[in-house]
């Protein structure tokens, strides 16, 4: 039994957040701070022929106008292809061309209007399949020549393809020859905006000694630190990054977005802090977008439903720069099989430069795209073979003993997907679907998912623990609190590991690379799992130190000392010492002190990961899996085409829900975000290559009227030896299978095979008209 894990504790950040005291980056004002505004190109692909900043420079309050004209910096983490400000060429309409630094934001904005830029327009391309063609306008003349890590990024020189991931498993030709039934289709998952409610913000100061300090709304402080260090050739030890609370991330604030721009501008005014807060329009045009896939998938099965072959091609409109998206493309390839064993796979994924904002991580990280394809095709396969979908799913699920697309063997402890299926099926399918009436069609859909986090092979979390003389402890990690509840979960894990109440645990709320322990980054739903293990490690070492200190006082062997969360106790004599008295070593009455201060470091890294083999795309690249299923009952209004979600059920095997309430919150919120992608959200472009829907309400996201009438959430807990008390990644997962689940339900309701997102009421009405 656990005392603190598996219980619903209130969030440790909640009081600060309901009282308006929680500090986000935009809330920070520093001494000697200036404000920055950015001039964006407004054209998708053009050569810059001249920039005249003279009038702007002479305006009231203007301190500096910065352009990229003499900037030879390219930044990146694996593919160094992006300048902080356009230098000679713009590659998307939101690209920064100049930055004004002034005393007030208004003065900076006024000066922007006076900057004169002339351009020579170039043909532009937005569609990833068009962009991948040989005769497409070339967006990067130096594609293939940029510095890149060649084991993982595979550019095709002379084209817009900056990354080609290949998965080659088995013999796909033979597989399709053996197939009795083949289904296939073209799919689209459009570009969309993460829409974290907090717009991106960053503040940067170059100190006069050459060191750099930054405050940023960012999920990856240490990646950001290393990028800045690399950009300005300053030792990483001279770069300090602070991250306050994050107002949502969903991947859009990793790895870096606006920070290199702000730092570059700030480098021209050393001694001043320079602050940039994006407008909502700029979040959409000038930070990162998500998804943007066009794909084709072909799936073959035997007449008994056994899957034998999968062939897929996926083209990602990854935008003007590729560093934040190449890994998503790779993962999209790994995982496009969904949670199914398919012996023969042939998958090509192309990360393609397009004249749109760069794509970055977005909740689900390449999984929703492939899962849309495979789940829609499974539904079709089941109908074609006249086998119930749950049956055909169960026949092919990646369960104990099966081998995934990467060649990794699945074991029992990886999770029970059949249980997940039974749960959601039981919720949605056991009652009769309402009969079509005058106003509505009704339908039910089912989809299955798995997610494996993509991470750097050395990705680790580390934890500093410090015990105080009252026996309370500080826990310091660099996991970013961006709404997922990580600080609350960290405090519960520490409480359990130390066997002391949550109120005695203080998890550091601000991350500061000068004081916080190294962490890869807060992505891939890994903080509970990886950070939690680091906490366990630090706690174990702290208890060992306490026992050691007590053994010195007891003049006994450490093996004779017990620890109960309050005291260290001599097992034989029953003598006991409060742990606080051992926190700095033990001091006798005369002041003589023995033992070791209780400060420890813990770490956890998912072991033995490798990058996928460049030729086969296979290897030990996935460190963990979480499996799940989702099902929905929907109704479609005949008059309007509007879809209501009457009941949405989700089941995931997450190993252990450390905090069932916050875990449920992740699922319920993720489902609604997935419904946005399914039924509403799409970045649209005007004829001139600018984005059309740059703010609410034109960019439509779910509001309270759009949510399911009912959500049911099952969290199953198959014991495993992975995360702390078996807890596994689960935060992105609720979004992964929402779209195919709803599209399968739409087919059930009206018999139309949708394959492109979003499905709008007008699409529904159009399809009903066509059928009639």
């Amino acid at each position: 039994m656990h005392n603190y894990v598996g219980k619903e504790f209130d969030r440790v950040d909640a009081v600060d957040k309901v009282t308006g005291i929680a500090v986000f980056t935009a809330d920070i004002a520093l001494p000697r701070m200036l404000h920055m505004k950015v001039l964006r190109s407004g054209r998708p692909h053009a050569l810059i022929t001249s920039i005249d900043t003279s009038t702007a420079e002479s305006m009231d309050g203007v301190k500096k106008v910065v352009t990229g004209t003499n900037c030879d910096i390219l930044f990146g983490t694996c593919l160094w292809d992006q300048p902080p400000l356009a230098n000679g060429k713009v590659r998307h309409a939101g690209e920064p061309v100049a930055a004004v630094i002034a005393e007030t934001p208004w003065q900076a904005a006024e000066a922007l209007k006076k900057i004169k830029v002339t351009y020579e327009d170039l043909p532009y391309v937005l569609d990833p399949i068009e962009a991948a063609k040989q005769d497409a306008p070339l967006i990067h003349e130096k594609n293939g020549e940029y510095r890149h890590i060649s084991y993982v990024v595979h550019p095709i020189k002379g084209s817009n393809i900056f990354h080609h991931y290949k998965l080659r498993k088995g013999d796909v030709k033979k597989g399709f020859v053996d197939a009795d039934v083949i289904v296939e289709d073209n799919f689209e998952f459009p570009l969309s905006s993460h829409t974290a409610l907090e717009p991106h913000a960053a503040i940067c100061r170059f100190h006069h000694d050459g060191s750099i300090e930054m405050w940023a709304s960012n999920q990856a402080p240490f990646v950001l630190r290393d990028v800045l260090s690399d950009m300005f050739k300053v030792p990483a030890s001279k770069v300090r990054v602070h991250i306050p609370y994050l107002g949502g991330g969903f991947g859009g604030k990793s790895d870096v977005s606006i920070e290199p721009l702000v730092a570059y501008a700030a480098s021209f005014v050393p001694g001043y802090a320079v602050k940039l807060v994006l407008t909502r329009q700029e979040v959409i045009t000038g930070s990162l977008l998500g998804r943007g896939m066009k794909g084709h998938m072909r799936l073959g099965a035997k007449s008994d439903g056994t899957l034998v072959a999968l062939e897929a091609s996926m083209y990602f409109a990854d935008g003007a720069y590729g560093d934040t998206s190449w890994a998503i493309d790779t993962v999209a390839g790994h995982n496009c099989t969904g949670p199914f064993e398919i012996p023969n796979c042939h998958v090509d994924v192309y990360g393609v430069y397009t004249n749109s904002p760069s794509v970055g991580a977005y909740r689900g990280y390449g999984h929703p795209e492939g899962h849309l394809m495979v789940n829609r095709l499974m539904d079709r396969l089941a109908r074609k073979l006249n086998i119930p979908l749950p049956e055909i799913m169960k026949k092919n699920f990646l369960k104990e003993g099966k081998v995934n697309a990467l060649g990794q063997k699945i074991t029992k402890h990886h999770g029970d997907i059949c249980k997940c299926l039974d749960a959601v099926y039981g919720s949605i399918f056991t009652e009769n679907v309402p009969k079509e009436d005058d106003d509505y069609f009704y339908g039910r859909g089912l989809a299955a998912m798995m997610k494996s986090p993509k991470m750097s092979t050395n990705a680790a979390s580390t934890c500093y623990l410090q015990m105080n003389v009252d026996g309370s402890i500080f826990i310091n990690l660099s996991g970013i609190e961006m709404g997922q509840g990580v600080h609350t979960v960290f405090s519960q894990i520490a409480a359990e590991a130390m066997n002391m109440p949550v109120c005695k645990i203080n998890v550091y709320k601000d991350v500061d690379t000068q004081f916080s322990p190294w962490e890869w980054q807060t992505v891939a739903s890994m903080q509970t799992y990886r950070g939690g293990r680091a906490i366990q490690d630090a706690c174990r070492k702290a208890v060992e130190l306490l026992k050691y200190n007590a053994s010195l006082v007891f003049h006994s062997d450490v093996s004779h000392v017990d620890y109960d969360g309050q005291y260290c106790i001599h097992k034989l004599t029953g003598e006991r010492i409060p742990i606080g008295s051992l926190a700095r070593g033990y001091s006798y009455e005369n002041g003589l002190t023995v033992g070791i201060p209780v400060q420890t470091t813990g770490y956890y890294r998912v072991a033995d990961l490798t990058e996928p083999d460049p030729e086969t795309g296979m290897g030990n690249a996935a460190g963990s899996w979480t499996f799940g299923c989702q099902a929905a009952l929907i109704r479609i209004a005949k008059a309007t085409g509007k879809i209501d979600i009457l009941h949405f059920a989700s089941a995931f095997d997450i190993g252990k829900a450390i905090n069932p309430k916050t875990a449920r919150g992740q699922v319920v919120g993720g489902v609604v975000q997935g419904l946005g992608a399914t039924l509403m959200e799409k970045i649209s472009f005007k004829e001139d290559g600018n984005i059309k829907n740059v703010n609410f309400p034109a960019y439509v996201v779910p509001r309270i009227k759009d949510i399911p009438h009912k959500q049911t959430v099952f969290l199953f807990e198959t014991p495993n030896n992975e995360g702390p008390w078996s807890a596994k990644p689960m935060a992105e997962h609720p979004i992964v299978a929402v779209a195919p689940c709803i599209l399968n339900a739409i087919y059930d309701a009206i018999g139309v095979e949708f394959a492109k997102l979003p499905v709008l009421p007008s699409d529904i009405l159009g399809s009903i008209d066509r059928k009639e």
């Binding site: 909640a14 709404g483 309270i704």
Partner: protein, 158 residues
């Protein structure tokens, strides 16, 4: 340049209005340090900047600062009294309606305005009020739960 007077959270305040289009939210955040009021969209569509002005909920990013002359403003910072959270704040915590927290102050102020005027607001009215806000984290379920919980609690206090 202009000076304007307003009462904010019970305190008499004077704001200096520099050149340009200055909004109420800018004055609250930049001059009074009341950064609990957030800017999510700048066009009054997401509700994060909602404050109470003369008893009415307004999106402070669309109200010109000079329009606030002589007005009574209540922001999220003015809700908790002497270390005691307001029942709506308590309800948000209890219902698990807080995730990233960026939309939270605006939602709480919206509900404060609603329940001050109409303690018996039905679920449709509550949903209409919440419908003026965007939350990207919670999926709204827990926010509605918090609203209903707060309403119940507020009624017991009357």
């Amino acid at each position: 340049m202009k000076l304007i007077n307003m009462t904010v959270n019970g305190d008499k305040m004077v704001a200096y209005i520099p050149d340009g289009r200055v909004m109420l939210v800018d004055v609250l955040r930049d001059q009074f340090g009341l950064t609990g009021t957030k800017v999510g969209c700048g066009v009054g569509q997401c509700g994060a900047c909602t404050v109470i002005m003369n008893g009415e909920p307004v999106t402070s990013c669309t109200v010109l600062a000079e329009k606030a002359e002589s007005s009574e403003i209540l922001t999220i910072e003015g809700l908790a009294k002497e270390g005691q959270l307001h029942p709506i704040q308590e309800a948000f915590i209890k219902a698990g309606a807080v995730q990233c927290g960026f939309c939270t102050p605006g939602l709480i102020m919206r509900l404060y305005a609603l329940f001050s005027k109409n303690p018996d607001a039905d679920e449709t009215s509550i949903k209409d009020a919440l419908g003026k806000h965007i939350c990207r984290c919670t999926g709204y379920e827990s926010i509605l739960e918090a609203a209903l919980l707060a309403q119940k609690e507020l009624k017991t206090l009357v």
